[in-house]
């Protein structure tokens, strides 16, 4: 057998701790970081959510034994995967659990949560413990050449992102091995595929010499990592364009920029601190007289919650002001609302205007 990887060593260490307690007739425990916004802090210097170090201890009791058993079984599966250099998707791991009799998972969210726990406990990235997501990393179009490796020959493979026509390059789930070539001036990360399609169809990337990335809602880890690598390695800025609502601000933009509370131990790599928010801001809704939808109660709740608990929002006065302004307006606007002034208003007027005037951005 080959020498164990650090992950396998760590898994064995945790298991040995549990085994040791059991041998001494003591209640076994597993310690892992708490995965929530309460356990992260934001500071400007690093530019991402940092783990505060609060941990939870899962002691073996009547109410925890099922999860306890599942966590150990999942660790065992992870060990096998790493040792045999194999991978399993999150969905596959869920199906593997069906062999565990009473300890099987009923629904995939249960197995995902256990997986996230192990990932946090091992303080590694999910891929390192052998699990990969099924999710797509986002769509890319524009002045960029991605250098990938051919799976069979191992030769470099150059992918020109201007040559997908009305389609786009799809970010793979693992991006660490990718390299880039580009002369673009910036990356534009867009919330909706609809807006991405419009900009791509009219070759906006050529007009303004940029790279378009469609995040399709909250950006996946791969998408965040892709943009981060691209921005770091090519040294270009990242601008974010979302709907004018709290979901766009605090779920999509914030997660892209500083990471999430859920997997804070890896935020360092899965965030884009240099990202800047160009729209749609609450002020844009007024300035561009955009048609709006009324804020729902859950929207307001989300905003108030963010104002109170999100370390990122608490750090930036500008965001607090914007959030309060929007709560007062009781309205939100979608990216597509710009179409009120003509279908290509966004290309001809809105984006050029916004990019020129940094004062209208939010940090």
């Amino acid at each position: 057998m080959t020498k164990n990887s650090p992950v396998v060593e760590k898994i064995k260490e945790v298991a040995a701790g549990v085994y040791d307690k059991i041998r001494k007739l003591k209640q076994p425990e597993m310690e892992m970081p708490i995965r929530s916004l309460n356990n992260v802090d934001y500071n400007d210097k690093n530019g991402y959510f940092e783990l505060l170090g609060k941990t939870k201890t899962r002691t073996l009791t009547a109410s925890t034994i099922k999860t306890f058993a599942q966590t150990l079984r999942m660790m065992s599966l992870s060990k096998d995967l790493v040792n045999s250099d194999d991978i399993a998707t999150k969905r596959e791991a869920y199906y593997v659990s069906k062999n565990w009799g009473e300890a099987r998972f009923k629904e995939q969210p249960e197995s995902d949560a256990v997986m996230d726990d192990i990932e946090a406990m091992m303080a590694v990235n999910r891929e390192q413990i052998g699990f990969i997501p099924e999710e797509k990393g986002g769509a890319v179009a524009g002045e960029l050449i991605v250098i990938d490796k051919d799976q069979d020959t191992g030769k470099n493979l150059e992918i020109d992102c201007t040559k997908f026509g009305s389609g786009a390059y799809s970010v793979p789930s693992s991006v660490e091995h990718l390299k880039f070539k580009t002369k673009a001036k910036f990356v534009l990360a867009i919330e909706t595929s609809g807006m991405f399609e419009r900009l791509n169809k009219h070759k906006y990337w050529r007009k303004s010499n940029c790279i378009l990335v469609a995040m399709g809602g909250v950006p996946t880890r791969a998408c965040r990592r892709f943009i981060r690598k691209l921005a770091d390695e090519m040294n270009i800025p990242v601008y974010v364009f979302t709907d004018g609502d709290f979901y766009g601000y605090f779920n999509i933009y914030r997660t892209l920029k500083v990471g999430s509370g859920n997997a804070a131990h890896i935020n360092e790599y899965f965030c884009v601190p240099q990202a800047e928010f160009i729209g749609i801001t609450p002020q844009d809704i007024i300035d561009y007289k955009l048609p709006t939808h009324p804020l729902k109660e859950v929207d307001v709740k989300r905003a108030k919650d963010a104002l109170k608990n999100d370390p990122f929002v608490k750090h930036y006065k500008e965001w607090q002001k914007a959030a309060e302004q929007q709560i007062k307006m009781k309205a939100r606007a979608e990216q597509q609302a710009l179409a009120k002034h003509g279908l290509n208003f966004v290309i001809d007027k809105y984006l050029p205007d916004k990019l020129k005037n940094k004062k209208t951005w939010l940090p």
């Binding site: 150990l72 660790m75 060990k79 300890a103």
Partner: protein, 565 residues
Amino acid sequence: MTQKSAEELAKKQREISIAEFFEKNRHLLGFDNPRRALLTAIKEAVDNALDACEEAGIMPEINVELIQLSEDRFRIIVEDNGPGIIKKQLPNIFAKLLYGSKFHKLSATRGQQGIGISAAVLYGQLTTGKPATVISKTGPDNKANRIKIKIDTQTNKPQILEEKEEEWEGKDHGTRIEIDMEGSYMKGRQSVDEYIKETAIVNPHTTIIYTNPEANQIIFPRAVEELPPEPKEIQPHPYGVELGRLIKMLEITEAKTLQQFLTSEFVRVGAGTAKEICENSSLLPKTKPKQISREMAENLYKGIQKTKIIAPPTDCISPIGSEDLEKGLRKEINAEFYCSTTRPASVYRGNPFVIEAALAFGGDQAADSSVRIMRFANRVPLLYLQGACAITNSIQNTSWRSYGLQQSKNSLPVGPCTIVVHMTSVWVPFTSESKEALAHYNEIIKEIKLALQECGRKLASYVNKKRRIGEEAKKRSYIEKYIPHVADALKEIMELDDNKKKDIEDNLYEILEHTRGELEEIGIDNPDYDPELANIGREEKPKKEEQEREEKVNSKKEEKQTKLA
């Protein structure tokens, strides 16, 4: 239609004797069908026997015998060791309706009106044509008197057919009555057997020897060697007296003045209160009672209601006691949990009363049917008219869901449970002369509900405990379910062998057992349970249909009887 003159009509107008009235309205007294008639007759005789013994301070020993003479004809024999009855009174007590010692006084005895036993004699006479036989002996040195009597239904006077003195060997004193009557003997919740058993349960100071028509003799030996405290007789409380009764009392009183009448005939009325009543009635305290007119009496009645009078004394009633009540219930029902309570005395319409309740939960009882109710009034089991009784009503209107029983709105709770309610009072208000259902007085219902709630709270804590233990057991099985998985996973990760895996499992059992403590055991733990006793009165075929059919037949008979009447 031809008109009739008042004179013609007058020919048909005449006095109705009480005996005649009974003959046509026997259902009012509990003789509406052969089965119930048999029970009522025995019940009246036993009530009298117990009252007589207790009044004389004798530990009761009652002998009840039921002999089947033909398919629908029975002889009932009830014999006691009471003080006996003097010769002169024998005919009146047994063969004159509304003759008795208990109607005019207020004390917690079983009998009240002086109808019961004469009605039984009358019923026997109506259905068989035969007289009743009574033997009574008042002391070891006296001879016994034996009489055969009937009731003259026209005049409501005893008719003595035979009368003689005789020796009664082996008996110092006591009374024995034999009545032949039409009847029907069946087991079940409304049977003679059940009545005798329940009587024994709530009268633990009594020995009952019962021989049923199958010639099985059952002895219920006394469990307590002490008579219950003698029920004290009290005078009526002013609040409890109705206008008619007040007028009657004014007529027969020996008092010279109204004030004297009030202080001497009523409880809790002193000179001060009497004066206050007079003032409130606009009557002079010196008015002669005989001179008080109906209008004045009505003023007096209203004056009494206006005056604040302290509640009557409550030491005149002696409840069974929650402990003895529970003990009796333990004999009858094999359950997991028992509780009981005796309420402090309370007052309705000037009559003091006490409510007691007991409850048995779980065990052998059926969980999917309505709870069983056992009702008692002054230590007498109430077997009929459950639906019309204030006790049933109170149980229905108590919210049992919070106490762990199922219940749909305003109906009896469902669950493995028996509820016992006993009311003791100097005057138990029944809905009818058959004395099977308590009347719905708010004060009584309130007290019953309070007693039920007290028991209910205890029940709830038991039911919750039971549920907790159940959940704990479930949790443990849950733990045990996952222990092998913990061991398996550790074995895989650490590449352990099967022995070590086994060690892990064993240790985990020990660890979890240690942290959770011993599992408390619950179940039936009732050494007092007497299965033989519990079986008495149980139907041989406990099929619901049978009972329903029987009830149908009964109600048809009732219909027929009403039509005839």
